[in-house]
Symmetry: D2
Subunit: 136 residues, 4 copies
């Protein structure tokens, strides 16, 4: 069974729109923060260290499928539960569940790659075995 | 062949992250703006008028699948091309293509519903025939 | 001596710009969240309750002076220290200090008013004595 | 009389908060975009070119005083009028007026510096004479 981390979010007034609910791109913002937090909780250093030591710039998003089941509003306390569902040679799939109490509000399945800069352009690299081991 | 609208975006410095590329939730923000702009270009009034006259609050996102093919950065001029791919009884699917010149950067297929407030809660309604006619 | 509250912020990757530092409007976003958090820590209910019971919509910003002394970046843990410096009849001045460890990064002096909706327009009201008492 | 540029903003649904008005940090986001647009309209290249050719990273914000006179909402078409009010040796003051039709909604007086990276840290530099000449 794969490792799961929890990232906490307190929904703010400014995260909500005139319908009084969270403007949906903010869920993606929190999913992005949860993705990075997952790697830190697994023991990886900040991107700026990984760039200096190993040339890894980050894990840009390649595809994300997000479903919204229930809305959230300011004052809500949310948790983003994150795990890695699948590792391929160059990409991995992270699964994020945004919950309030025990209720699932939104989930997202995100495909990302570790990238380095080659001749000025971002390029996907083979997933390093040690990183995979730390995060499984 | 269904109607397609174009929504223009000039990428700003503040839309980009430390990797020097657009932080991906901003693509979702622009897709949301393009979705609403589509309805205005088709002749629908603002949500606040639709709420006053017909109780329609907006078209919250139910599911969005977004794929990122190439990155964008500040100074880029983008276009979001939007069309409605499918109408069901209570939901519709909008398809958004974000392009720079002729290059596809990102696309998103979004399922939404027209909602009204019933007993304080947002609830999907049958898609009004006149709105469907205006937007096809 | 006036009451001071602390609001915590973990700086995220997406809060930073291509210069690798926090994009400054995000400081304003956190100052706004700290302003509201101040009132909750003092015992005020959410705006939606205050609107229902007393017609108070919120405390829109009238003027803010923000100074930036040092930059912050992703991975930083910040605190926003908030107090009310002055109460006038219809406006109050909140003072926010954003610190990392013991270092002041940014501060903001913000003038706001409690508003209600009168004939569809937001209008400043006299500051209720009980609210002033709770927050001093 | 100093040069003035105009930067246009169409207010989006997602820029507004539950009070149905623009969430104020978004005004700061537009002021930042207008600041950079001013330099481009005056003939300066993008930051990434200025960094490559002259080591200039950007013009971080040092202080901004913003006053809000009237609110804006989605569907509004705004203009940010930008000029440089004062040039000192190492800092300059930009003045931004956000207007809708002929009505002033918000203005901001912003102190910034051109910076370069010295030993990994951002440091203000003397304002280059040619840049000052282009922008006056």
């Amino acid at each position: 069974m794969s490792r799961t981390t929890i990232f906490r979010v307190d929904v703010q007034w400014g995260d909500c729109d005139p319908a009084d609910i969270v403007f949906f791109p903010n869920f993606q913002r929190w999913i992005d923060a949860a993705s990075l937090d997952f790697f830190h909780q697994c023991g990886l250093p900040r991107w700026r260290e990984l760039e200096a030591t190993r040339g890894i710039i980050g894990t840009p998003m390649l595809e994300i499928n997000t479903r919204f089941y229930k809305s959230a509003t300011y004052g809500d306390h949310l948790e983003v539960h994150t795990t890695i569902e699948r590792w391929d040679r160059k990409v991995f799939v992270q699964y994020h569940r945004v919950v309030r109490d025990k209720t699932l509000l939104c989930d997202g399945r995100a495909t990302r790659a570790f990238v380095q800069r080659v001749d000025g352009r971002l390029q996907a690299m083979e997933i390093p075995a040690d990183i995979k081991a730390m995060c499984s």
